[in-house]
Symmetry: C2
């Protein structure tokens, strides 16, 4: 804030035109019925350059214009449990794209966390208005909020697939289903026949997607799905032993290292006795440098592309439906926790 900010009125005075004219030139979009001569236009442009004018984003927004700010709302609290480890990469992608586009990022940290979740309260809705649009991320299922979002015509986009609300929610997600499928197919190709899915059977999109990929891959291979919902590592190990699993795919909320240790305590080596594949980056902090096999969610790219999508939605309201949704491929991670099943693990009499 310089001593006296330069306003459109200042520019107008210098160019010898009205404030409105300056606004027209700046937005490069003449309302119907308004015309400007090339010469006037140039005078205004010169004045802008000389004065070093730059728009006041607050006034812009109040007057119903755009201000090159996009909001980021995370449903889950960002910190407890090192949440930033998970959200961080998305943020990096968002910021990277924002930098390219000359956009500022507003983090809605003021929305109080209730029961571990941020909510879009009345206050929250009001605050969204500061930004031209908003990116939403995190698990969340409050129907009324989603509906409200759609009703208001406020530009927004989700990071992470959202198939509810009749597919009208714009998003950029990752193809968990396909990635899980490929990972399982790889196990099958290696000779694994008893492959477990370790994780809770939730109703959230990532979980159902992963399960779908797992189930379909096994079905296509003529094998059966085996859900291991147990929470406790030792219970998981018990299931592995009991069902004579030679490989498990692991939901990323589960602590792979704990499982690894539990397996070791029972004399099972990874990957010799059991292959372990991680379906996405682990949500907890890794304590050891081990390279887990599985796949990686392109979180940075998701963040960046979501911002790009949102920009389009803000700029034009006639974005084709097909462009509203985008699934990015996950990268397979070779890692060191997968191997062909050892012979003795194979039942001699299937």
């Amino acid at each position: 804030m310089p001593k006296r900010r330069i306003t459109q009125a200042d520019v107008a005075a210098m160019a010898g035109v009205s404030q409105a004219t300056v606004s027209f030139v700046l937005n490069d979009r003449l309302p119907a019925g308004v015309r400007l001569s090339a010469e006037t236009r140039q005078r205004v442009l010169d004045a802008i350059r000389i004065t070093g004018y730059s728009a006041n984003p607050v006034a812009q927004r109040l007057a119903g214009g755009r201000n090159q700010i996009i909001g980021v709302f995370t449903y889950e609290a960002t910190f407890p449990g090192g949440g930033r480890d998970f959200y961080g990469p998305f943020l990096v992608g968002i910021e990277h794209a924002a930098e390219q586009l000359g956009i500022d990022i507003l983090l809605f940290t003021s929305a109080r966390v209730v029961e571990g979740r941020r909510r879009l309260t009345r206050d929250g809705w009001q605050r969204l208005g500061i930004a031209d649009g908003c990116l939403l991320l995190g698990q969340h299922e409050d129907r009324s909020e989603l509906q409200h979002l759609l009703d208001t015509n406020y530009p927004f986009a989700f990071i992470g697939k959202r198939s509810s609300e009749g597919g009208r929610l714009p998003y950029v997600g990752a193809d968990y289903t396909g990635a899980t499928r490929r990972v399982v197919e790889r196990l099958v190709a290696l000779g694994h026949r008893r492959i477990g899915y370790v994780g809770a059977m939730g109703t959230d999109q990532p979980t159902t997607d992963r399960w779908e990929g797992y189930r379909d891959a096994l079905r296509d291979a003529g094998l059966g799905a085996r859900l291991v919902p147990e929470e406790e590592p030792d219970a998981v190990v018990a299931a592995v032993v009991e069902q004579r699993l030679t490989a498990v795919v692991l939901s990323p909320e589960r602590d792979a290292e704990e499982l690894h240790d539990a397996l070791a305590r029972h004399g099972l080596d990874v990957p010799r006795d059991v292959s372990v594949l991680l379906l996405g980056q682990p949500h907890h902090r890794l304590r050891r440098p081990q390279q887990w096999s599985g796949f990686a969610i392109p979180r940075e790219e998701m963040g960046a592309r979501a911002l790009l999508l949102l920009s389009r939605l803000i700029a034009a309201d006639d974005v084709p439906d097909a462009d509203l949704h985008r699934l990015l491929e996950c990268t397979e991670v070779e890692g060191a926790t997968v191997a062909a099943p050892t012979h003795h693990a194979e039942p001699l009499v299937p």
Copy 2:
């Protein structure tokens, strides 16, 4: 954005008062010459509750009020080289405090990066105005920008010590000098006599502070300072050998792991032959889980406290000078890279 946002005018209508009255009640601060009866006040309060009114932050700001948004400006680009690893923790602290205070965070990612540094251009200054105040972080020495900041009376605070501009720059920093001093004293107590400082002799505050702590600790112990400015790990090792150093303190920009490997290649073990202490968290990503000895900068706390300081500056403009600056203690990290010097490393004839 609900269908029709509720404004102060709506509340006023319901309470049967004027819009101004609502504003007075909300801000809980009557301008000289204005009085409100307790009864009217209550009616307004009720109307606010019933309508669920919540202020429009944009209008608030345009009218010269506060809007509970604080900006964060980082001088260095946030990403290249995994910068977020360094800035991340500050951000976490800031966000944490922001959540407590009900404040939103605006990241000024729109400021273009020129020569690896973000700059506060005219455009940047203008954009700062969106927020009530701003936190600045990163190395930076542009005098004119600092002066401008002071001139405009815009509330701001630095994260990281800033002694320039006659001590008028508010900051929350870490006590590099004291931490370095204690680390060196610890080495001396262990019996080390030839302790090198590995790092560039820059003019930036962290560097000069660390050097000061190092130099003073050695001086007080009657020992001489030994700067090892070499960049190349092998060159550093050469200096270590040549000067028969038994310990080195390492500037965090240096890659400790590379140095470790270079030492190993020359047959020097850490910490048996050479103790290595890190003066702060390493700026690069660690590839091995080794626990480096040294000290840790309380980055999260710095972020949080800086936000608190900024809040005070925004709320009241009569903050005592003494409260404008704050140095936090660094935590000493025990680690596994320090040990007493082995006898054979000690010169028999000093």
